[in-house]
Symmetry: C2
Amino acid sequence: VVATTDSLVEGVHFRLDLCSARDVGFKAASTNLSDLAAMGSRPLTLLANLCLPGGREESLAIGITTGIRDACRRFGVGVSGGNLSASPGPVMVAVTALGEGLGDRFLTRSGARPGDDIWISGPVGDAALGLKLLSDHPGLARRFASLATAYRRPVARVELGLRLRETPGVTAAIDVSDGLVADLCHVLEASGVGAVLDLDAVPISCVARRFASVVGADLRATALCGGEDYHLLVCARPDVRAGVEFLGLERIGRVTARKGLKIPGIRGGLPRGYRHFT
Amino acid sequence: VVATTDSLVEGVHFRLDLCSARDVGFKAASTNLSDLAAMGSRPLTLLANLCLPGGREESLAIGITTGIRDACRRFGVGVSGGNLSASPGPVMVAVTALGEGLGDRFLTRSGARPGDDIWISGPVGDAALGLKLLSDHPGLARRFASLATAYRRPVARVELGLRLRETPGVTAAIDVSDGLVADLCHVLEASGVGAVLDLDAVPISCVARRFASVVGADLRATALCGGEDYHLLVCARPDVRAGVEFLGLERIGRVTARKGLKIPGIRGGLPRGYRHFT
């Protein structure tokens, strides 16, 4: 059995004026299932731990557990139990996900080798723009509803993780939770390698482009540094390109022996994504 | 695999002026291991999820994880991982414990039958008096150090749980976290039975008696309603008395077909132990 745990804290990871308690539950489940997906583990069950302020506890508990069940139904997982506690502080949801043991074949962050291709399973930046939409431009929320959904109801790429695990030549994987650059750097550091990223190849959705042009958001920075899309970032040997492409991934760079991340067209530093403590 | 999860929240379950971060970590691990013990499951590993306010996060994280490791070493368990998040609110520790699968033989709350004996694995009230000692009588803390330890470093009865699971005729078990009366009532409700409790047979430690007499605490109410001792409360058929006694348990009552809990010598209502939301 493989286990992973993650928490969402009100005021840090979510605001209840921008999403419902049910969304929070969905996201808390999704982020943990996404961690399992990045290892190539089939999820078995979830345990949820809720710490809720008194007075609102009933509606919050119902909303959050309903959202967790939504996610479990969608990704074919059973909820096995949980715990509810009072708290004087913010709403907190800690979820632990258990997945099938992986035997001798599983995906890690540390297997990338020079010459590998770098792949991503879908467009990045939608969730970060969804947050911007909801907090700064609520009047546009209906027009750009898919961005709001990307932020509120992120998809764990469970099936894709299982397929990648079975694909020979896949050397490393991670889910993009902190941001493309931040999570790629996690892989590079764990693998002791560097990379060159092809900025023009990084997929960005049409709706993200439209929204960014309407509100004047920095699309490139958002795509590189916005988190919470939960796409899988994958490294694979160049001789398995056809197989990885067949799974719908897009090639966005290559691994180099020389350490550090190079992004031609970008000068100077980039923010490295969300950091809890500075 | 069996899994259980529980959380400790600052201001609800602990105060950092009454115990150290290391104590909090120890207790967070112990309470979860105690849940496994009450099922008769051998613990395999723990995952910890910490939500910590910025500024104090480093010393808190080190203290709490050291305490978790203390408990894991003591009870022979490996820590497998965890997650650290910032929080604007109180310190929160959520632990998930994984234990060995139980096959067809395991302990539940729901198996008690009329005629069963009720047993407890040790004295109750020490932890609650320890809390009273630390909060109301800190000047006496050295003299009654074992009460403070009972409160700060509760023992999960892991080995006893495994032995009880192997003992035929044991019909139900629970760990006393909320209080003797509260947790006994959980068993009675789950089993659809009642009980008569023998107040004089309920074990109370000598140090608890001395402390209660010095400060004028209500010893009986504390023994019945004080939580966090994490002793195992067990029901077993009367024909296996010798076997259960051999494990060091003390007999404190019997299960009845008539529902409800009777405690001869106690009139009127008793507080039913800690409740998170009222």
